[in-house]
């Protein structure tokens, strides 16, 4: 047997770094499960596990809603429970799973098709015609009955549950809940959603059949816990690769997370959004850049990532405008302040622009109306300026382009800030942006 070579951070070669990246990227990018979930959502976890276990063993029917903001770990919790239960052969042999997603199964017909497919009953059902959906569902469940007449338990997991509530008449939901209330087949329906008022979306008859068991998942991480989550995400298991490398790496991770810059950026993100996903987002770039020539997580990369995720994209787009377009935007800003609330159109903007160019400016070329109109239309394409609803853009109510009423979607503050950081901005323009022309 060849003795495993011992190497530290500095001696590691391409292959090693690839493996490190494989592991870390999979954790960060694909929402894969953190290995140690202990402590987080313990009570919710027990509650759900209990529901599913009772359905599988005793044959009890149930329904529950898991509610929490996006990124709170609903899907993660669900799949970790399922993978844990899969280890228990008594349960996994006893229960069938059907996963539906409101984004994909956009109407009830598709949903029933998908149920048939996931229960592997396409052959049984073949060309049979059913009078109603209830009939079809009960046929499906009947077909699953085992020899002794004992029904098979089924677990339905409905992701994006609120979208199912928008289906016509909520037939699918009604039938699922109805089965869980009345029939012999043990069925557990678990809905995952981020809407807190989801129960209000349900019709009265559907609501009354729902068990009103709600399980809330909120972002309950404190900042220290969030840091711990980051550390866990970055830590390598000791038996992965060489031992020396891993210990060196793990201690490096500890150091890295204690750096001032990193801690501050984490704090900044945490203040904006408490979900784990957002905290993860700044780790992505430092991880992706790892390699033999760059063997350490770099706090400069963290700053890069922070800048990328938190930069004001509208200001970034404003930086790319031409001087002419900036003039038009400033003119619009002044007009909006002057005629508060009333309509502004291109003709007025052009008039204001001309006044400025003729009276106040020496270095700015005066462009004709068609050139300005071209620049202005580009602003509409970029959605920095928006035509007011119903101002006649379509056939019957056609108004000439110049007279369509418009609205500026940039705040005065953004305009001024853009001008301050704009490279090669004429000083007259800056003056004009803060002081409107005397009328």
């Amino acid at each position: 047997m060849v003795k495993k070579k011992e190497y530290g951070l500095k001696e590691a070669d391409d292959e090693v770094w690839d493996k490190v990246q494989d592991l870390l990227r999979a954790r960060i990018c694909q929402n894969s499960l953190p290995e140690n979930m202990d402590g987080t959502f313990q009570s919710q976890r027990e509650h759900l596990t209990d529901l599913i276990r009772r359905c599988a063993t005793i044959g009890e029917s149930n329904s529950a809603l898991v509610i929490g903001p996006s990124g709170a770990g609903k899907t993660m919790l669900m799949s970790s429970i399922l993978s844990e239960l899969a280890k228990d052969s008594k349960i996994s042999g006893n229960i069938l799973q059907v996963h539906l997603n409101g984004l994909l199964q956009t109407d009830d017909r598709l949903a029933v098709q998908e149920i048939t497919r996931q229960l592997r009953l396409e052959n049984t059902i073949k060309d049979r015609v059913f009078g109603s959906m209830a009939e079809k569902l009960s046929f499906l469940l009947e077909a699953l009955k085992k020899d002794e007449g004992k029904s098979q338990s089924i677990l339905f997991v409905l992701e994006e549950f609120d979208l199912f509530a928008h289906h016509k008449n909520q037939t699918l939901l009604y039938n699922l809940f109805d089965i869980s209330q009345s029939e012999q087949t043990p069925v557990t329906v678990i809905g995952l959603t981020c809407r807190l008022d989801v129960v209000e979306l349900l019709e009265k008859r559907v609501k009354s059949r729902f068990s009103h068991r709600q399980i809330h998942l909120f972002h309950s991480l404190s900042f220290e816990q969030a840091c711990k989550v980051c550390e866990d995400a970055l830590t390598l298991p000791l038996n992965y690769l060489s031992k020396k490398f891993c210990t060196e790496w793990n201690s490096h991770v500890k150091e890295f997370l204690q750096e001032r810059i990193v801690e501050n950026s984490l704090r900044h993100l945490y203040d904006l959004d408490k979900s784990i996903r957002s905290v993860y987002s700044i780790l992505l770039i430092p991880i992706c850049r790892l390699g033999p020539s760059h063997p350490r997580l770099d706090s400069a990369d963290v700053l890069d990532a922070l800048k990328m995720s938190s930069c004001d994209s509208k200001s970034a787009m404003l930086q790319g405008l031409t001087i002419l377009q900036l003039c038009l935007i400033i003119a619009m800003k002044h007009l909006a302040e002057l005629y508060e609330g009333s309509n502004i159109n291109f003709e007025m903007v052009y008039n204001e622009y001309q006044k400025f160019v003729q009276k106040k400016s020496h270095s700015i070329q005066c462009f004709g109306k068609p050139v300005c109109l071209k620049a202005f239309e580009q602003l509409i394409v970029l959605e920095l300026v928006r035509p007011v609803e119903g101002s006649g853009f379509t056939g019957a109510k056609l108004t000439p382009k110049e007279y369509r009423s418009l609205k500026l979607l940039v705040t005065p503050l953004q305009v001024v800030e853009t001008l301050n950081s704009f490279s090669g901005c004429p000083s007259e323009l800056k003056m004009w942006a803060t002081n409107p022309l005397p009328s």
């Binding site: 899907t75 994909l104 007025m348 050139v371 110049e402």
Partner: protein
């Protein structure tokens, strides 16, 4: 693939290039589920992402959302490109599969990836749009703006594609519009956002110098580009537009050299020769008033004049009464109703205090045409036409003809017969030229211009 070699080909995009390359990593590694690239037009979004993805050699699909106006076309296009089965003569225009819904799409994509043993590789999908997506096992979408206008669930499906299909899929969205405008309701997974900033003046110069024709030195061409930018840069920062203009006007610039009047060193002389020419180009070719080929012809032959501009040709020959109807409509649109008595009544009373009346806060030439009723139009029409006209069916049909010609527009679709309202859609210049042909002085009747 060797990113080092690209240094010469891809200029001024080092930062974006390195971020994209590091995000994508090796094909076997996980990538972020979605990358959102935004920036102005022609900042190299499509070029760069296409180049990187092609170099990766992973399964890939490039979709332009302008072409795929329904979700079915979009899905089938993506699947076809990934499986290499696009409809063509050889395979009798067969498709990979029929795919109408997002549900089918995700299922088929899963199958495809499983069959082709791509589990290990990243698939890129790139929908390009003014909203575009790219799909490769990494995918790309171009012109992604348009994904918003399709049914509400398509964009979230693409953003979550790797989660929904459980495969290593990366969707790249390219667009000019910022992310905040996409993100409407729940279910959106935030993508990694990358901004492609505009090229600065120096960068434009550097890139455009690559176009230098062989006969002339780079330095000479770059000084020409510099001149061009001094005229156009304030109005246009679009690289492809500027390159087009530079190549088109170059023959004119070197004309004095070819004739022997100047040498490459005579910068001043060359400048004086080209400046008026470029200024003219700004008014014409830049606005597409004359086509590029017409412009080239005009440059070659010294004598020939420019063909009439598109906008100047907008002269319409109308019947006699239609002209008067149009003039009447213009007057009704731009004059306030209370001034009608003064202009059109045979015997109006004293004109009281015109000065104060004239101080309306904004001129009607700025606020645009107002709506008016049919009766008012007809009343003005009768008073400006000297001859006695009978209100026949012809007159009324001429009004509706003017509407279909989009010289007038009808407001409010509800009331077609009783008291329809109209608005006049022509410019002052147009109405003046029309009134000149019938010897009518329209300026005398316009509230704003009349003394």
């Amino acid at each position: 693939m060797d990113p080092e070699n690209w240094k010469n080909e891809i200029l001024c995009r080092d930062k974006q290039l390195s971020i994209l390359l590091s995000l994508m990593g090796k094909n076997s590694q996980a990538t972020p589920p979605a990358i959102f690239i935004y920036g102005h037009s022609s900042t190299g979004k499509t070029f760069l992402s296409r180049k990187i993805i092609e170099a990766k050699g992973a399964p890939q699909a490039f979709v332009n959302c302008i072409e795929c106006q329904s979700q079915r076309l979009l899905y089938e296009d993506i699947l076809g490109q990934l499986s290499g089965m696009l409809p063509c003569v050889q395979n009798d225009y067969a498709r990979y599969a029929r795919c109408e819904t997002a549900n089918d799409f995700v299922r088929l994509l899963k199958n495809l990836i499983a069959n082709e043993k791509w589990e290990k590789e990243t698939v890129y999908i790139k929908p390009l749009s003014q909203d575009q997506l790219k799909i490769n096992v990494k995918q790309g979408v171009d012109n992604a703006e348009r994904l918003r206008n399709m049914e509400g669930h398509i964009l979230p499906v693409f953003l979550r594609l790797s989660e929904l299909s459980d495969c290593n899929v990366c969707v790249i969205l390219l667009t000019q519009i910022i992310w905040e405008k996409f993100n409407a309701t729940s279910g959106y997974l935030d993508p990694v956002k990358i901004n492609f900033p505009d090229y600065s003046k120096n960068e434009l110069l550097q890139i455009m110098t690559l176009d230098a024709p062989k006969e002339y030195s780079k330095a000479f061409y770059s000084s020409y580009v510099n001149l061009l930018l001094s005229i156009f840069h304030m109005a246009c920062r679009d690289l492809s537009e500027l390159r087009h203009l530079a190549l088109m006007n170059f023959p004119k610039y070197i004309e004095p050299i070819e004739k022997g009047d100047a040498t490459e060193g005579d910068a001043h002389k060359l400048w004086r020769n080209i400046e008026p020419h470029l200024k003219k180009a700004l008014q014409t070719v830049f606005l597409r008033e004359v086509s590029s080929s017409q412009w080239e012809q005009y440059q070659l032959s010294d004598t020939s004049t420019l063909p009439p501009l598109l906008s100047a040709r907008a002269h319409v020959e109308l019947p006699f009464y239609s002209k008067f109807l149009l003039i009447a409509a213009y007057l009704a649109s731009y004059n306030p109703a209370k001034s009608d008595r003064r202009f059109f009544a045979k015997s109006h009373g004293k004109i009281r205090q015109t000065k104060r009346m004239k101080k309306a806060e904004t001129s009607s030439q700025l606020t645009g045409p107002k709506a008016f009723q049919l009766e008012r139009l007809m009343a003005i029409f009768y008073s400006i036409v000297d001859v006695r006209v009978a209100p026949t069916a012809h007159i009324f049909s001429q009004i509706s003809t003017l509407v279909t010609l989009q010289l007038l527009s009808q407001i409010g679709s509800g009331d077609q017969l009783d008291a329809p309202k109209y608005r006049c859609c022509v410019s002052l210049d147009f109405i003046r030229s029309v009134s000149r042909t019938v010897n009518f002085e329209v300026m005398k009747y316009l509230y704003e211009f009349a003394a």
